[in-house]
């Protein structure tokens, strides 16, 4: 019974890869959703290249958000940076509360159409989970451990790199995981400003009233989110087991 979850994920991955590499195999399944003379499988570009582009966009935005959010959390968890905590928290919160659509609308006049406004929106949207999880984990480390690290004569940098960050890693990873999943879904709206993401498939479906397009775009994004969420969870468990 314990093998069942792995089996299901393997199956999902296989289905996804089949769909991306040979989309025509799925035509019979999606056929009922399309109108009689309309195309069933997205035909205005390769699903595989859109998926890769979608993932690259999310990867770039999340990497940038991770670097900024983790650095910021480290800074404000040091005694010297403590006074910046309220300011950083407000900034990161604004990033989260500002709707990505509004960010796109504001960013397009400044940076133009394409990938850039999408990256900005995803970056801002992804900061909060990573910042909060990093800050929480760094400030709730076992007191005796932090005290012992000081007592053995570690410098501030040694404590951070050798003790605090390794111990905080599982919780930081959970923040990144949350951020990645949010970004995977949110990236689709980037296609409204001409970014190449899987949102293109969904938008094309909406414009031509083709339900088959909408469903295949949504399903690919959903499958990606589930698989990546699971992969990162497994990584997290690995780091917990070590600490």
């Amino acid at each position: 019974m314990r093998a069942l979850p792995y089996l299901l994920r393997g199956l999902l991955l296989a289905l996804l890869m089949t769909f991306l590499l040979v989309p025509q195999t799925m035509e019979p399944l999606l056929r009922p959703l399309a109108q009689s003379n309309a195309p069933v499988i997205y035909n205005q570009g390769s699903l595989l290249s859109l998926t890769v582009q979608h993932l690259l966009t999310v990867l770039a935005a999340t990497s940038a958000a991770t670097v900024v959010a983790v650095s910021l959390a480290i800074l404000v968890s040091r005694p010297a940076g403590a006074e910046f905590l309220p300011l950083s928290r407000s900034l990161v919160n604004i990033g989260q509360t500002f709707p990505p659509v509004a960010v796109l609308a504001l960013a397009v006049p400044v940076v133009g159409f394409g990938e850039k406004p999408t990256l900005i929106a995803l970056f801002l949207y992804g900061l909060l989970p990573i910042f909060e999880s990093t800050l929480t984990s760094l400030t709730t480390l076992p007191r005796a451990v932090v005290e012992a690290a000081r007592g053995t004569g570690m410098t501030g940098a040694q404590r951070l790199l050798q003790i605090e960050l390794p111990l905080a890693l599982p919780v930081i990873l959970s923040g990144i995981r949350l951020s990645v999943v949010i970004s995977l879904a949110t990236a689709t709206i980037g296609s409204t400003v001409a970014a190449r993401t899987l949102g293109e498939v969904i938008i094309a479906g909406l414009q031509s009233n083709n339900l088959a397009f909408v469903v295949q775009g949504g399903l690919i994004v959903g499958a990606l989110a589930v698989l990546i969420y699971d992969g990162l969870s497994a990584l997290e468990r690995l780091t917990v087991a070590r600490s």
């Binding site: 451990v145 007592g151 053995t152 570690m154």
Partner: protein, 312 residues
């Protein structure tokens, strides 16, 4: 030698440690006792500058402890705390090797030291070295914590309620181990506790603190016979006084020529244990033998009671 000279620490306008002066002789165990909030932990943490004093000076072997950076000072001073504070993501061997690594010992020297310490603390080096702290019992974790504090062979070891989290039987064992190790390395130890039994068991000298002030600093004997204030007397415990006196000395000090019946008492046990033995078996005297079984005369109830008497 550790000279604490007019040390004061103020938090929010209130003196937590108030003009404390005391000198701790090398290779001795000084125990600081007091109620919670008495400033004993703060005083201890000013020795390795985890807390910086507001006034006064602490000299280690004549040298002001502010002449080198705090982290370098702390690498030279062992520090063991309640709840051990072992690094959960590092193995026992890596934990013990923390300070040697920081000060750049080579691998062979560090490994040899880790092995020596584990063996000294009666932990199998091959078995325990690769384990993680969460795989150890409370008593084992505590021993590894003290081993880590001793790894770089510090002259001074600071201990903040190191046995507080242990159950009574393991605690007594840990205290005896500490005394053995202190003899082995000749380390000067300052230990903070609120447990008077622990203080009397371990200390060459006891410092009693209350509300940031040092009330008395002297040998256990002196605290019992000449308490400086009512607070010291209360800390010692009026009903405990005769037993405290007996607990400080060995039977061998009271052994006198003569013979007695019944099972013998080892010369190395405390006089308190001897008294208990005599009371329990209803005897007025018992033979004393040394550890190698040689007869050492006898110990009498009368001598024990005489020894336990307070000043007139």
């Amino acid at each position: 030698m550790i000279e604490i000279d007019g040390i004061t620490k103020i938090y929010d306008g209130k003196s937590v440690v108030d003009d404390v002066t005391l000198t701790i002789e090398p290779h001795t165990v000084a125990v600081i006792v007091g109620t919670s909030g008495s400033g004993k932990t703060t005083l201890l943490r000013m020795v390795n500058r985890l807390v910086e004093p507001d006034a006064g000076m602490i000299r280690l072997d004549g040298e002001d402890n502010r002449t080198i950076p705090g982290y370098e000072l702390r690498r030279r001073i062992g520090y063991a705390i309640q709840g051990h504070g072992l690094f959960p993501h590092r193995t026992v061997a890596e934990n013990i090797a923390t300070v040697p690594r920081l000060i750049g010992w080579d691998k062979e020297k560090t490994a040899a030291k880790v092995r020596e310490l584990l063996t000294l603390f009666q932990l199998d080096a091959d078995l325990f070295g690769p384990r993680y702290p969460h795989e150890l019992s409370g008593g084992e974790q505590q021993r590894v914590g003290v081993a880590r504090a001793l790894a770089a062979e510090p002259n001074v070891l600071l201990m903040d309620e190191p046995f507080g989290a242990l159950d009574p039987i393991i605690r007594a064992k840990a205290q005896d181990d500490l005394l053995a190790i202190q003899k082995h390395f000749g380390t000067t130890i300052i230990l903070v506790t609120h447990d008077m039994n622990e203080a009397f068991h371990l200390a060459d000298k006891i410092a009693v603190m209350d509300a940031g002030r040092l009330l008395q600093f002297g040998p256990p004997d002196e605290l019992v016979r000449q308490p400086a204030t009512g607070f010291v007397e209360a800390m010692v415990g009026a009903s405990e006084r005769p037993f405290r006196l007996l607990s400080m000395r060995r039977v061998s000090d009271l052994a006198e020529p003569g013979s007695a019946d019944g099972s013998p008492i080892a010369a190395t046990v405390t006089q308190q244990d001897a008294l208990a033995e005599l009371m329990w078996t209803g005897r007025s005297a018992a033979p004393v033998v040394s550890s190698d079984g040689e007869a050492r005369g006898r110990v009498t109830l009368e001598a024990l009671l005489q020894r336990a008497r307070g000043p007139k």
